[in-house]
Structure formats: structure tokens, C-alpha cells
Assembly symmetry: C2
Homo-oligomer: 154 residues x 2
């Protein structure tokens, strides 16, 4: 019923409620985490599977899903729901809350901090009597590069 909601809500999570569970340090887990660390932007589980495969890693799709899910539980990845309904994962780089600006065409991603919006969200929520406001904010557009390319070909 509720709409999209990224792993990170507007609220901060207690710094100890995540990570360092008793996960077994398997090759596939290491492989996926490494891929995750390498990539800057959001990718689907299927993407990770392919990416890992391209790099010579061999991890079954089901396992990729399981690992990603486990990382989601421990708060080590950000998750957003893609347009087409597939879940997109990205390493949780900063511990602080932040948002993204994605290029619709090439997938590039930039982090953007948004004090303004943080405040705005709290404000609007409060005005309607809502509490525990969390927000999902994603900006998409065409990066400078793609803007040029698109202009050139049209």
C-alpha cells in the first residue's frame, strides 16, 4: 500500500542495529560486495549477476538475490524501486542521509545533499499532522555528456 521507500528513511538508524551479523565469509558474498563497492550507482540484482559474471565471478542469481537481501537487512545497501518495478541496489556509501541525481540515459549518479529538502519534508509532514516523516527523493535527468549527445543526434 505504501509507496516507494528507500532502505534509508528520513530517520537515522542506530549505528549498531546493522552490519556485523554472523555472516559467513563466502566467496560469493565477497564477490558481490566487491562489485557493490566498485559501482557508484544503482543496479538491479540481475545487473549484479551479469556484472559479476563478466568479471569472471561465478555466483548464482538466486544467491545474488539472497546476498543483496541480507545486505539490505543489515542496512549496508540503499534500495529503491525502479520504474519498471525492479529493485535497484547501491552500496550505502555515506552513513549520513543523502539523495541521488541519476542520468536517465547513461546511469551515472551523483550524490546530492539536501538540507533544504530535509527541512521541507519535516515541515510539510508536520503541517498535516504526520509524524515520523521519511522521504524518498530521486532526481533524474540527462547528464552534461548525454545532453550533448542527444542534442547532436536529434
Amino acid at each position: 500500500m505504501a509507496a516507494q521507500r528507500p532502505a534509508h528513511e528520513g530517520r537515522e538508524r542506530s549505528a549498531d542495529a546493522r552490519s556485523s551479523q554472523e555472516h559467513r565469509n563466502t566467496r560469493q558474498r565477497r564477490t558481490v560486495v566487491e562489485a557493490l563497492d566498485t559501482l557508484e550507482d544503482f543496479h538491479s540484482a540481475q545487473d549484479f549477476h551479469r556484472i559479476v559474471a563478466d568479471r569472471g565471478g561465478r555466483v548464482s542469481l538466486a544467491t545474488v538475490y539472497r546476498i543483496l537481501q541480507s545486505l539490505e537487512d543489515t542496512g549496508d545497501v540503499d534500495v529503491v524501486q525502479g520504474d519498471d518495478g525492479q529493485a535497484l541496489y547501491r552500496k550505502c556509501s555515506a552513513d549520513d542521509h543523502h539523495h541521488h541525481l541519476l542520468c536517465r540515459r547513461c546511469g551515472a549518479a551523483e550524490d546530492i545533499e539536501a538540507d533544504v529538502v530535509e527541512r521541507w519534508a519535516e515541515q510539510v509532514g508536520a503541517a498535516s499532522g504526520y509524524t515520523q516523516i521519511a522521504h524518498t527523493i530521486e532526481l533524474t535527468g540527462l547528464c552534461a555528456q548525454c545532453t550533448r549527445e542527444v542534442a547532436g543526434s536529434s
Copy 2:
């Protein structure tokens, strides 16, 4: 690849690029649209199918999907991707661009206009050299009612 993007982008759509196509006025279309008009908050296609059925309407699931899709194209519904990856539809009450504040607990939804953010989005995008900025902004929280109820039971 790109992240969630609601029916309404940050851009305004030309007031005539939507609605009033040459859709045939079929019983099933009327039925679905009526349900849509009745309900205030977001519901999945499957929800609509069931709701319509409960009211005695007989519209196949596939058709519900097709109608909802067509309404999306004409800009007559707002669409957001639910947590579990299912698309949620709601009638587009206002003609202007707006966002939502949803209650995580009871699903209530409020419209919120957000000039501030509109401007902010443009600004941030431009600062990074991005063009054609679109934004997805969803606020979730606990409505006043639910806030009370939750407080009472914990």
C-alpha cells in the same frame, strides 16, 4: 536502470497532451474509472480488479491493466512503485504537478504542493550540469490518527 519516476515528472506537461483521446466508452472503462474516482488513495491494478469485482463489475484483470495503462498515458492517474514492486494507481485529482504524503500504516494519502522542491530540483540539477530534470518525491509517515494509535499500544 533509472530510478523510480512517477507519472508526473518535474516538467509540466502541456495541458493538451493528455486526456480526451478517442477512447471508446466501454462498460469496463467506465467501471474502472468510476472505481478510480471513488478511491482516494493508491491501489494496485489487482486491487482495482478485486474492488470492481466486489461491486459487481466484471472486468478482466488484463483489461484493468490495459485501462490503467491507458489512463497513465493520458495523464489521468498518478502512478508510484510500491515497496514490493507493484505499481500503485490513484486518480490524478489536481491538474498541476504535485506530490504525496502517505501514511505508512493506514495508507491514507494527502496531496502536497511543493514549489520549494520544484525550484530546488531545477537548481541542484543545473548545478551538476544536468538537464531535463525530473524528480520523484514521496513522503511517508504516520498520520495523526495512526500516530495516536501506535503510541497507545507501545
